[in-house]
Amino acid sequence: MSEKILYGYTGLFDSPDSITHAAEKAASKGYKKFDVHTPYPLHGMNKAMKLPTSKLGYVSLVVGLSSALAAVLAMFWISAKDYPIVIGGKPLFSFPAYVPVIFEVTVLSASIATVLTMLLIFFKLPNNGHPLHGTEYMKNVAVDKYGILIQAEDEKFNEADVKKFLEECGAVNISPVYFDEEEINHKHKILEPKFIGFLLLTALFTSGISYLTLNKLLYLPPFDWMMEQEKLNPQSTSTIFADGFGMRKPVEGTVARGYLPYAFKGQPEAAGENLVNPLPVSKSVLELGQKKFDVYCSPCHGYHGEGESRLRGQFPNPPSLHSEKVRTWSDGRIFHVITDGQNIMPSYSTQLTAEEKWAAVHYIRVLQRALNAKESDLQ
């Protein structure tokens, strides 16, 4: 069996002032390895013990600042870079909206980092044995006494001297604390059946409660008041109207915002004569036309308008856009085909706005000119 080793001498005091004086004396006497234990934190104790300023604050500062920065970058990445969606007409990077997130992330990570650093680095967890555990001294200082402990490891430690010193300070219950090498270094098992059983029970309990709350309780009256509202959902029937439809038709002749009725439906010739391309020929217009042509026209007409369809014969190939007929058509006539459709080609009005159609017409002219250049183009 291993021997009992002396850990240190302890003494108890009755008031915060007396323990502070004792700590001052111990520090000025040159003791380095001593500690005080009080039921609650005493301001000014670090000064009395001549302790250097704690380094823990730097951990909070560094973690707090870096997580604030991380929160800014994360919010920037999420809402302005990776998935930019305009919300409420705000700029993609709108700082005021991020402030609560930055604040929460900073506070949370700084406090967790501070506590974990304190436990893991300063308190050296998971080392869970300590000579003071279970001593009468510890029971006292946890209730209403103020205790001082001078460790045997201290260079100036000398049993008789320390005893005398504590007596001079006015301590009571002066007693030595011993420990057992084996007992101290004994690592308690974390994966005990009792502990695992408790963890499992906790997990079962919390998930069960969450399941019942979210899936059962919220569907029972009166907690379902958010779900069961006195309103009509889309596509549902109504008892108010005679026809039973919950959704109402707009008034006859209603026109949607931004919608212009097409005046030349079924009148290709009139459209060709009357409609004029309102767009100027410019780089941006042609680029828009190319984009729309490549997306909507090229699957059948081909990228060059020669009818080189990519549909592998599932539809009959359309005639070339470079024919004499199409080249001599007016812009309005082509616009009419896109708007109203022709033969097997459907209308593209739902896919393309008027502006996009006119831009596509300009682009078709570019394609035509490329295959049938004029004499003047070659010079």
């Binding site: 005493l42 301001h43 000014g44 705000k90 005021p96 402030v99 609560p100």
Partner: protein
Amino acid sequence: MSSIHNAEYQKRELPKKIQTIGLILFGVGLLAVILGYVQDSTRAAFNNIILYVFLASIGLGSLFLVAVEYLSGAVWSTPFRRIPEFLSALLIVLPFVLIPVFSNMSHIFHWMHPEVVSADKILQSKAPYLNSTFFIIRTAAFIFLWLVFYFFIIKNSKKQDASGDQSLTKKNIKISAVFMPVFAITISFTAIDWLMSLEPHWFSTILGVYYFSGSVLAGLAAATIIIVMLNENGYLVNGLNSNHYYSLGALLFAFTNFWAYIAFSQFMLIWYANLPEETFWFLQRWEGTWIIFTIGLIFVRFVIPYFGLLSQPSKMNPKRLLVMSCWILFAHWYDMYWLAMPNYSKDGVLFGWIELGFVLFAIGLVMLLFNQLAKKNNLVAIKDPKLQRGIDFRL
């Protein structure tokens, strides 16, 4: 055992120069105020409103601190509770401060004009609350209520100096408990009446809390300035030390953060919802040179006091605490100016001898009032049962 302090308080006369300087400031200020009213009565009346909300802040904030001490049973502030008690005497002055405003009201509040109201649907629906009669009744009733509580609490506290009767403390606890809800409601409606109704179309449900946070800061800062100066020169009891200073500084720091929290909440919700009937108030404060003043508010009222009071020594060192309290009191005036003045001077910040005159008037008034009360009364509640524990207070 615990060190023995000398709780015996020797009353000393305050130096004569307080009265002299107070009189000079008050006189110069009063002259500027009168000349201001002669030259530009609307501008002077706006300044008068700032003066009113500023003095009401200090008075009400101080009375709140006194009541909180009674209610929470705090001991650390008992040795210098007299200072906020004296400062809350500003409530007596409030009706006199308001007289010139009442004679110029229609220049300030455009909801007081019947022809404006009849042409404005929103003002019509607000008319049951926002009308001259009810406005004056409200203001008078609030000041009356404050004075009632002021007289009862202060009278009991002074009585205790002579009799040492401990039941007076219990009485004051009961009065303070009644005062709290009255205080909460009246201070909110004061902010609504005198600050929000300058722009009757605008509304912000948090403005009352905003004004409350600033008021506590103002009362606390004013008290801290006086406490530090008196204690450093030995006019208070022996034994007040860095523990007491630290507590004052920590409370100032806490309410600085509280103000920032409330101010940002007000801004962010209005900014997020983006409703034109709310945002225009901030846009007014974004116009011309106001933009600098508005951004300056963040630094003056939050960033500078925050870093100024963050470290432990800054709260324990009397000099640094004094500087920061002066700054916070200035910041409160800055804030009140920011709330009221853009309604008068829409193009930009306006600061001239009229504004300066009102500030000098306020400082002189507080000095004279304090000097007068300090002559008649003890600066320490000498027979308060909590006094010795307050002196022995350790963090």
